[in-house]
């Protein structure tokens, strides 16, 4: 036994020497995948995107920037059930986090666009969000010499709508939250999780949460009907247009109440939950998921364990835990 240990230690030591990486074993082969490294993109575009992200001129009355609702200090979203649009009225749907959004297979709750660029394009002209139009935005930005120069440096054709969208999308691709404890666990540092958390992960898998929340973004790679095992909306009452989900796009009865499965990364810091912000706490959200998605009746202990696990999914932004 001690021989084996020694041998393993030697192997690890060799790996350490070879890679210069912190002490770690081989990555685990799980259905959940570690966060990829932050991509290295054109710094000029990223910086321009960062400026635009904080630019209220994108909204029609210069009140809202992307950062108004997607606050990077509070999990990449705001903590309101519904963010306030340019006109001071709340929007119909809960704001999803901008963090790790580039890892989602589609954007928006109902996945109506494929790319971050298209997402930007829609939010700016949305009559309840920024309420502007692209000609105005381009005109306003082009009027500022600082932007003119920054665009000239990053794009040969200067200030255009698609360049604004691309700059913002490029910036957003850098908005990843690495180094969550669970990621470290997946990368082989199995000591980082407590036993409780490991049990929580086990419950997460056993109860079938993993059926939808898996992959690199722990969700965000498929659509799912909200209310597989029961009619959530009937129970909740007060039906809204936004509850229709993908039906709004496809007008297909099959797609009624179908939403993009959200990522669970940073889930502990992105309350409230669901598109309708109906779950104020993680507990509530887990209860709803068990009832309407899994059709299971877990013990309180199991739920607690799962919540323990979910808290390990919180990553870092700008070197600090979210």
């Amino acid at each position: 036994m001690s021989n084996v240990v020694n041998h393993r230690f030697g192997l690890m030591f060799a790996l350490c020497l070879g890679t210069g990486a912190p002490l770690s074993a081989a990555p685990l082969n799980e259905a959940l995948k570690p966060l990829p490294p932050v991509p290295v993109l054109d710094p000029a575009k990223v910086e321009l995107g960062r400026q635009l992200f904080n630019e209220p001129r994108l909204s029609v009355n210069n009140t809202l920037s992307c950062a108004s609702c997607h606050q990077l200090t509070t999990g990449g979203a705001d903590n309101k059930p519904f963010s306030i649009g340019f006109d001071g009225k709340p929007v119909q749907i809960n704001t999803p986090s901008v963090f790790n959004a580039s890892l989602n297979f589609k954007q928006f709750w109902n996945g109506r666009v494929d790319t971050l660029e298209a997402q930007v394009a829609q939010v700016v002209i949305s009559p309840v969000e920024m309420g502007s139009d692209w000609n105005t935005v381009v005109h306003n930005l082009a009027a500022l010499p600082a932007y003119q120069n920054a665009f000239k440096q990053a794009y040969p054709d200067g200030v255009t709508a698609s360049n604004v969208q691309n700059a913002l999308a490029t910036y957003e691709r850098t908005l990843l939250t690495p180094n969550s404890r669970f990621d470290q666990y997946l990368l082989g540092n199995t000591e980082i999780l407590t036993t409780q958390e490991k049990y929580g992960y086990q419950r997460f898998k056993d109860y079938g949460c993993i059926a939808c929340h898996q992959g690199v973004n722990i969700g965000g790679n498929m659509f799912q009907k909200f209310g597989v095992m029961g009619d959530y909306f009937e129970k909740r009452g007060n039906p809204l247009e936004s509850d229709l989900g993908r039906y709004l796009l496809t007008q297909d009865e099959e797609d009624r109440h179908v939403f993009k499965v959200p990522s669970l990364r940073n889930v502990a810091v992105t309350a409230p939950y669901f598109h309708d912000a109906s779950a104020k706490t993680l507990e509530e959200a887990v209860d709803v998921m068990f009832k309407y998605q899994l059709g299971r009746n877990p013990s309180q202990e199991d739920k607690d364990l799962i919540i323990e696990f979910l808290k390990t999914l919180t990553g870092e932004w700008a070197g600090k835990p979210l």
Binding site: F105, M222, M229, L294, G295, R296
Partner: protein, 605 residues
């Protein structure tokens, strides 16, 4: 004039022809080498990658179907990659036969429709498969939960509920079977089973309600979702993405083949055209070589003709020169003869008076009263003994003194006359001399310029003095700078040189203690002056003589007539030049320098 315009026309025609040939060549080259192969290969490559991704996608769908993995990322990434590759393919300027373009675009549209349909179906498959797999995985556990409830009740109760337990277990089994082999019969079985379970539930204790509900919910879900998943799989399999990609490949292939065919055709044309060009070039090369040979031959003929011509010209020139110098000689001789005649005539005239004077003097001498003196002396000699008596006594003797007195007067008159006559004669001789010298200066006044080779001329002058020089053991040093043939008066130059050399020789005639040496120097001064000097190391010239040395009649020699240097200086001035002398003093030798303007023989004619 017409020939020039014809030449220009032919030049323009030639240029147009060359342009035509070149543009044809370029056209054929471009046509044949338009490189579609690269784009074709790249496009084929992209489509192959798309096919590969599509296949991978299919296999991931099947893996998800049999629940090998829970990770659905692999069902997303192929589409992402395919979308990227597709935009790559779109971005590529794939060549297409314009006629075929609608077909190609239609194929692309069909592919896009297919891929969108497949993406939609795969998304639905993901959703349905996820919940289906979840429920299927959960079924044994759900059944276990019910069994656990069974186990919890006492044996008696369990016996009563044995049927329910068996039914439940059967339902579980048929559900699991249904997942493997989905058929309407089994679906009906399950429906019956679910109905039974619902009825059984009524008879079960309350703690059974929740697990049974959960189980029946999940079985309902399986019953609902399994056919959906199966049909989705079938529909996914039926989506002709691969076929569309094959269509695109076929399209590309056909297009490429057609392009290749055209390409080959142009290659052939290019080959034929090149062959023609090569033949033309060969023909031209042969023509060119022939022309060269012809030109060479003509050139050689021309050259030899030229040489003969030159020789003939030279000969003729020589003849002309000879004739000219003959003419000049004869002209000079004629001139000289004329001068001589003139001089002789004038001299003859004067000689008349000389003759007369001489005659007069002769006659006077012949009839001189001096003869009477002789007779008087005979009388005296005859009466030597009694001279006194004779003179005083004798008749004749008494007359004698008177006679002598008369004689003395007569002789004095006679001498006076002769002296006058001789003065006259001397004047006449002077006149002759004047005539001669005038004629000499006349003769010199006519300048005759001809090409002169200075060194040859110097040698001539030496040769004329050669006898005297060797007699006096004089050595000659020649310091001739190379001087081109000049235009000058050969005779004057010769006169000057002969004189100067002769003078130098004489200047050293009293020299015995050191060798006699003359140095002749010819040099140019600047572009326009020629200096010729004769240097001796003889007796030199005293400073007081220096001013008079060129004057007429000045000489230091006994037999000299003082004419040489004077005429030399005159001749020098007449040639627009100057003759100068220099000596460091008596016994230190002298230098005579002739300075004349340098006119090159070829420059003024």
């Amino acid at each position: 004039m017409r020939r020039v315009s014809r030449r220009r026309t032919s030049q323009i025609l030639l240029g147009l022809m060359a342009l035509l040939l070149a543009s044809t060549l370029v056209f054929l080259y471009l046509k044949s080498s338009r490189d579609q192969t690269a784009t074709y290969t790249q496009s084929r490559d992209l489509i192959r990658q798309l096919q590969q991704l599509n296949a991978q996608w299919d296999s991931e769908v099947l893996k998800a179907r049999i629940a090998i993995t829970h990770n659905y990322d692999p069902l997303v990434t192929p589409l992402t990659d395919m979308t990227r590759l597709w935009s790559d393919l779109q971005g590529r300027d794939t060549y297409h036969n314009p006629a075929d373009l609608p077909g190609w675009q239609a194929s692309q549209a069909e592919y896009l429709t297919a891929i969108q349909e497949k993406a939609r179906l795969v998304d639905q498959f993901k959703s349905h498969n996820a919940v289906l797999r979840n429920s299927l995985a959960f079924l044994p556990t759900a059944e276990d939960d019910i069994q656990a409830q069974f186990n919890r009740i006492n044996d008696e109760g369990r016996l009563q509920l044995q049927g329910v337990a068996t039914d439940t277990y059967d339902l579980l089994l048929s559900s699991l079977e249904f997942a493997q082999v989905t058929s309407d019969d089994r679906a009906a079985d399950i429906l019956v089973g679910l109905g039974k379970l619902a009825i059984n539930k009524e008879s079960l204790p309350s703690e059974f309600q929740a697990p049974v509900d959960i189980l029946s919910n999940h079985i309902s879900l399986i019953l609902r979702e399994q056919p959906v998943v199966n049909s989705l799989l079938e529909r996914i399999a039926a989506v002709p993405v691969a076929a569309r990609l094959d269509d695109l490949t076929t399209h590309l292939n056909q297009d490429q083949q057609a392009a290749d065919l055209v390409d080959h055709q142009y290659h052939r044309y290019l080959l034929i055209f090149s062959t023609l060009l090569v033949v033309l070039l060969l023909y031209l090369a042969v023509r060119l070589l022939r022309s060269f040979a012809e030109i060479n031959r003509v050139n050689r003929a021309l050259q030899s003709a030229n040489e003969t011509l030159e020789q003939r010209v030279e000969r003729r020139t020589q003849q002309l020169k000879d004739a000219q110098s003959e003419l000049m000689d004869s002209a000079r001789q004629a001139g000289m003869a004329e001068i001589a005649t003139n001089v002789l005539h004038n001299v003859g005239n004067v000689l008349n008076s000389v003759n007369i004077s001489a005659d007069l003097v002769t006659r006077k001498l012949r009839s001189s009263k001096a003869l009477g003196l002789g007779k008087a002396m005979q009388l005296i000699n005859a009466h030597q003994g009694d001279l006194g008596t004779f003179l005083t006594e004798d008749e004749k003797g008494k007359l004698l003194p008177g006679y002598l007195n008369q004689l003395v007067e007569a002789i004095a008159v006679e001498q006076q006359g002769m002296s006058d006559e001789l003065t006259q004669l001397s004047k006449s001789v002077d006149h002759i001399k004047d005539i001669v010298s005038t004629q000499q200066s006349y003769a010199g006044a006519s300048k005759l310029l001809e090409p002169v080779n200075i060194s040859a001329l110097m040698d001539d002058a030496l040769r004329m003095n050669a006898g005297a020089l060797s007699r006096h053991h004089v050595t000659v040093l020649k310091a001739y700078a190379p001087v081109p043939e000049i235009l000058g008066d050969k005779h004057r130059l010769l006169l000057i040189m002969v004189n100067l050399i002769s003078n130098a020789k004489y200047a050293m005639s009293n020299l015995s203690e050191r060798p006699r040496q003359i140095t002749l120097t010819v040099e140019t001064e600047g572009d326009d002056t020629l200096k010729i000097s004769v240097k001796d190391d003889g007796e030199g010239i005293p400073a007081e003589n220096m001013t008079r040395i060129f004057t007429h009649g000045f000489t230091t020699r006994k037999e000299g007539h003082g004419f040489g240097l004077h005429s030399c200086a005159l001749a020098a001035v007449e040639m627009n030049g100057q003759l100068s002398a220099h000596s460091d003093g008596p016994g230190l030798g002298a230098v005579f320098t002739l300075t004349i303007p340098l006119t090159l023989a070829g420059s003024s004619s």
